[in-house]
């Protein structure tokens, strides 16, 4: 591995992903980067721009064939390559779930570690104005139900960079779920070139004594805004952001809930069967005494409409989140 040189640059989220990919193609000779339109066009969101020019044929475009993209990634990984593939929208992974659930997730187990399939799948999900119901779903719970897969949902530019570096250096199949509403946000200081971190970190984004709010992905921004508005009303919410959902930093969740004795989970995904239910269940199993019934804030169990006004009516925003939390701290 070339010597790691730490360097800080101001980057947007998408640019941080690009910087991480460039670094990984440089330092991991077995890495390959491919998917629909990621090579010469540089990706539909421009995230992979310039990488084909810099790294040549290791960065390439594929047919519109998700099963072939994911299946070939499994096959290449079995041969020792480190494929980083893009599924353009998380919704599109559903046409090729076999290769994730039946193939990638099984390879290590069945071979007792002799033939793992350490692929990295980059995809993005979530709602943005005008996106239709087949481009707006939050599907992390589907993947998280499958033993053998790792999953992260970075929200900040720094995490977008660090997650990818950790994922490519890990020996498990990892799904990295980005959020397209974050690609073109403000620039932030991003430290590049640091040593790969072990998977599974979280961030205590805001300390507070009254309630623990556990969140992940883009909607964490709404949770933080809700916490701000609650603070003005004298309710101090502690916001814990889970960058990784598998492995999940359960210790941080339990430690926070032990302090606050209240738990709210916030995610953009539908409530039923969502990973928030898993967090609530694990806290309950840990036997922590709570002063209020836990709350799950997410999208109700509906489809996601295209019209921005309709979508806003079903997605959890700061106002909804604050109201639900205020309700549990009122007593």
């Amino acid at each position: 591995m070339p010597e790691l040189i730490a360097e800080t640059r101001k980057l947007k989220y998408g640019e941080a992903v690009n910087a991480a990919l460039a670094r990984l193609l440089e330092e991991v000779p077995e890495s390959l980067l491919y998917g629909e339109d990621v090579g010469k066009p540089g990706g539909v969101f421009g995230v992979t721009r310039g990488l084909r020019r810099k790294f040549g044929e290791r960065v390439f475009d594929t047919p519109i064939s998700e099963a072939a993209i994911l299946g070939s990634a499994v096959g290449a990984a079995l041969m020792g390559a480190r494929p980083i593939v893009e599924i353009m929208w998380a919704d599109f992974s559903l046409v090729a779930l076999d290769q994730l659930v039946n193939q990638a997730a099984n390879a290590r187990y069945v071979s007792r570690g002799a033939a793992p399939a350490p692929i990295v799948v980059r995809t993005q999900q979530g709602n943005a104005p005008g996106a239709c119901a087949q481009h707006s779903q939050s599907l992390e719970a589907l993947f998280l139900h499958v033993p053998g897969l790792r999953l992260a949902m970075p929200r900040t530019a720094q995490d977008a960079h660090d997650v990818l570096v950790a994922a490519v250096h890990a020996d498990d199949p990892v799904i990295v779920v980005e959020n397209r509403s974050l690609y073109f946000g403000d620039k932030a200081e991003v430290e590049l070139g640091g040593a790969p971190r072990p998977m599974g970190w979280s961030h205590l984004r805001r300390p507070g004594r009254d309630v623990t709010v556990v969140s992940w992905g883009a909607v964490t921004g709404q949770a933080l805004a809700a916490a701000e508005s609650l603070a003005a009303r004298g309710v101090e919410a502690e916001v814990l952001e889970l960058t990784w959902l598998n492995p999940v930093d359960l210790d941080a969740v339990l430690a926070s809930v032990a302090r606050t004795r209240r738990l709210a989970v916030v995610h953009e995904a539908n409530v039923t069967g969502g990973f928030g239910a898993e967090i609530v269940a694990r806290v309950a199993e840990a036997g922590l005494g709570l002063d209020a019934a836990p709350v799950r804030v997410g999208a109700p169990d509906v489809r996601i409409p295209a019209a921005p006004g309709l979508a806003a009516a079903v997605l959890p925003g700061a106002g909804t989140i604050a109201a639900r939390i205020a309700g549990m701290t009122a007593a």
């Binding site: 077995e30 390959l32 044929e57 290791r58 594929t62 047919p63 064939s65 998700e66 099963a67 072939a68 994911l70 299946g71 070939s72 990634a73 499994v74 096959g75 290449a76 990984a77 079995l78 041969m79 020792g80 390559a81 494929p83 046409v95 090729a96 076999d98 290769q99 039946n102 193939q103 099984n106 290590r108 187990y109 069945v110 071979s111 007792r112 570690g113 002799a114 033939a115 793992p116 350490p118 033993p147 053998g148 790792r150 890990a170 020996d171 498990d172």
Partner: protein
């Protein structure tokens, strides 16, 4: 190797598969040593025997759940296969794969697959990786006739052709897609003709003749290795047994199995060797050595301990 020696070697190799399958059937039906889904390839021995002699040690073979024969022909020891089917700690995957989903990458056998058609895109990836790691690897993937109707198979064929990857797609057309005849499920029952639509070479081959299979695979492998891209080979064969052990085969057509028994590869090659004047003792020796090897392998496999339940949760993650 002269022609007679080659044909005797093929007969022996086919007998090894036949004996293995009959032993596994016996253990599955007869008692409790093997349980669950077992898919035998009795009648289809010529394909793996003809094809695997054309593979080098670094080439990657991907098979289906009807893969015992391909594994054995690729060099996976019979003892490891039987032990795997019987849930022994000494099975090639320590009992985690079972009859229908075992893998032995150390022998260039990168797995059976219990999902119909799933192996094709994986093989494409193995060939793709070879383009970058300098290994010059050939990937061969085996599927049944029904598997070509899976979407993943289409995606794999197209991508391999578009990228001119060194893949040999072997379709064993035994006429039955599980329990349903292929000609009722396709508009064009000559499956090899699809190759032209992808822009790749294709051929229909007598899949009960190991020499014909070998010749076709050799040509396809040479094309692949020299940058000429993938090939789709349709091997015409039949299974003399059900889709799975326990299949009552009520779907079989009158007279079909009788005809199949006349054309099956071991009887055919035996007859040809006899007609060519090869000594009966040498023909019998090919069978006897295979049977003895399998009996010995089965005894050793069944003497091994069962997989340790303490290890059932190991190896989910790195």
């Amino acid at each position: 190797m002269d022609d007679t020696e080659r044909r005797l070697a093929d007969l022996h190799a086919m007998w090894r598969i036949r004996a293995l399958e009959e032993k596994i059937r016996e253990l599955r039906i007869g008692g409790e040593e093997i349980v669950g889904s077992v898919h035998l390839c009795i009648g289809q021995e010529a394909g793996p025997v003809g094809a695997c002699t054309e593979l080098g040690p670094d080439d990657a073979l991907f098979a289906t759940y009807r893969g015992h024969g391909w594994a054995l022909a690729r060099g996976v020891p019979a003892e490891g296969i039987i032990a795997e089917c019987a849930g022994r700690a000494t099975g090639v995957n320590g009992g985690r794969g079972g009859s229908a989903y075992f893998t032995a990458p150390e022998h260039g056998f990168h797995g059976e697959n219990s999902i119909v058609g799933a192996g094709l895109p994986i093989a494409v990836g193995a060939a793709l990786a070879g383009r970058f790691d300098g290994g010059g690897r050939l990937a061969m993937t085996v599927c049944g006739d029904g598997a070509l109707n899976q979407g993943a198979s289409h995606e794999a064929l197209n991508m391999a052709a578009a990228f001119k990857l060194p893949v040999v797609f072997v379709c064993e057309n035994n006429y039955w897609s599980e329990l349903t005849p292929i000609d009722e499920m396709v508009g064009e029952p000559e499956l090899w003709r699809r190759a032209a639509g992808y822009g790749m070479a294709g051929a229909r081959v007598d899949g009960n003749d190991p020499a014909a299979v070998r010749a076709a695979v050799r040509e396809a492998a040479e094309r692949a290795r020299s940058g000429g891209g993938p090939t789709l080979l349709e091997l015409m064969t039949q299974r003399l047994v059900g889709h799975y052990i326990g299949d009552v085969e009520q779907y079989r057509r009158p007279g079909e199995l009788d005809r199949a028994r006349e054309e099956e590869p071991i009887a055919r090659l035996t007859g040809a060797l006899e007609a060519a004047g090869v000594a009966a003792g040498r023909i019998e020796d090919a069978r006897a050595r295979a049977r003895a090897e399998i009996e010995e392998a089965a005894a050793a496999a069944l003497a091994a301990p069962l997989a340790d339940p303490e290890t059932a949760k190991d190896h989910v993650y790195a």
